[in-house]
Symmetry: C2
Subunit: 286 residues, 2 copies
């Protein structure tokens, strides 16, 4: 592997990173940049149409580490809740048709007017149990993503690595972890959680960076290298446990990267991530 030709065979760009690109633009832009995969989002696939979306991704030869995300299930009205489960079954089918490995589980936080976080978490466990037969028959893993605790109220009540792993262990086959350094770097149990998960239960590994200061809770995530996350250290952990799955950059950045041209964002993402996403770390391959 030379600096001129980085090994990007395990590397995907999650398309929210280039928020203003259509799916067609993202597929084309990533493929031109030598990126091997695309993390897809439901709304872009819906915009393109599932048949066209599948065809353009397949024609470009991109792999699909994940489809983002489940519809929220933080709903106490049984009719609306069941409609969300049906929507999630549709998204599982969409993931299957795209050839994705997993549908990323982002289940929402508290329901409207709710303060009982334990109930919210129990509801998510119930919802996943209800979706699991469909996920298994579709061949799509439910990818539980621990989200940063600052999103516990309004985006996902799945906040820690250990909690998600316990859910996976309870639910069994057809579930796994979507790990993201942005969401879990602070977690004292992140490294032990990766070890406990093992290589097969880590479905995809998201890269990003934590900026100091962070100016917005939701959309001020940093480009790899611009923050304080020890990405090389986590890569070493992943190699130690034998992880050989995808690496995927995912950035929400209304203050910086979303304001730039998608080609520039993609080019810099590749440059910054190349040192961390090679097929195998050199020391391990030797």
């Amino acid at each position: 592997m030379s600096a001129a030709a980085p090994d990007l065979s395990r590397f995907a760009v999650n398309q929210i990173t280039t928020r203003d690109w259509t799916l067609a633009q993202a597929v084309d832009g990533y493929a031109r940049a030598g990126v091997a995969g695309i993390g897809a989002w439901v709304q872009y696939v819906d915009d393109a149409g599932i048949a066209a979306a599948s065809r353009m991704i397949r024609d470009a030869g991109l792999f699909v580490p994940c489809l983002c995300t489940t519809a929220w299930v933080n709903l106490t009205d049984p009719v609306v809740y069941r409609a969300a489960l049906d929507e999630n079954r549709r998204r599982l089918d969409m993931a299957a048709e795209l050839g994705a490995r997993t549908l990323v589980v982002v289940p929402g936080g508290l329901a409207a007017g709710e303060r009982d976080l334990a109930s919210a978490r129990a509801r998510v466990a119930d919802a996943l149990g209800e979706l699991l037969p469909h996920a298994r028959s579709a061949g799509i893993a439910l990818g539980l993503e621990p989200l940063h605790p600052m999103y516990a109220a309004d985006r996902s009540c799945l906040s820690t690595f250990a909690h998600c792993l316990s859910l996976c262990e309870t639910l069994g086959e057809g579930t796994g972890i979507v790990a993201d350094v942005y969401h879990s770097w602070w977690d004292p149990d992140f490294v032990s959680g990766l070890e406990r998960a093992g290589p097969d239960r880590i479905l995809t590994f998201h890269l990003c960076d934590w900026l100091v200061p962070t100016r917005d809770l939701y959309q001020d995530r940093g480009m790899v290298g611009d923050g304080i996350i020890d990405i090389a250290g986590y890569r070493a952990v992943l190699d130690r446990i034998g992880y050989d799955g995808p690496f995927e950059i995912e950035i929400f950045s209304k203050l910086d990267w979303w304001l730039r041209d998608g080609h520039e964002t993609t080019r810099i993402a590749v440059e910054r991530c190349a040192p961390f996403v090679g097929a195998r770390a050199r020391a391990k391959a030797a």
Copy 2:
């Protein structure tokens, strides 16, 4: 206990809640509102002078649940690090002179240029070990406060209840927990942590609320009742484990409460907290 005369005997206001008040104004304002205690901050005490500060608090008959906070120890230069430890010894003495129960430990996050969070956490453990003899001889507990993970990089690398409790268990006598619903409400191990800590190791209990949306990571905390935290639920846990220590409202709010007159903020804090801070919950006292 009637609505007209709430029981505020365990209730303190942390003076950062009325940021623009001097110590003298805060002491006077809280005492007039019937509040029993004041959570003090080093800079206001320094401004007043320690002797005058102690006198005015004693004369007003206020108890002091805590002094905020330690000086940061996220320092890799040994000379600067040792100076921070000396400053913390001074603050322990200040806490003793004020009659405070604890000095709140907020140790900083990563050092400048540092990415290794495990090292940062080990450094904090070392620093606390170094300070412990002085704390014990001053009769002041080192109050480890789990801070929200969104502050792990730049304010405190003590992020979870379980991590702080383990540190207390390792360090032993002279340490305890400063619990804060704002920082820990999302933590799947918060309730079990309160139970594991037990009443004696919880030094003070901070009240606040989590706003949805939260517009600023640091200074957009909510008045009790304006957010989604299940404060009644946590009060029930505290009663169940026999906690009989202080309740203390602490709000950082550059977008709302800091813009108001201190008397208004104090009055509303009392109104909102009264249902949760009585000497003993009614069901338990019966």
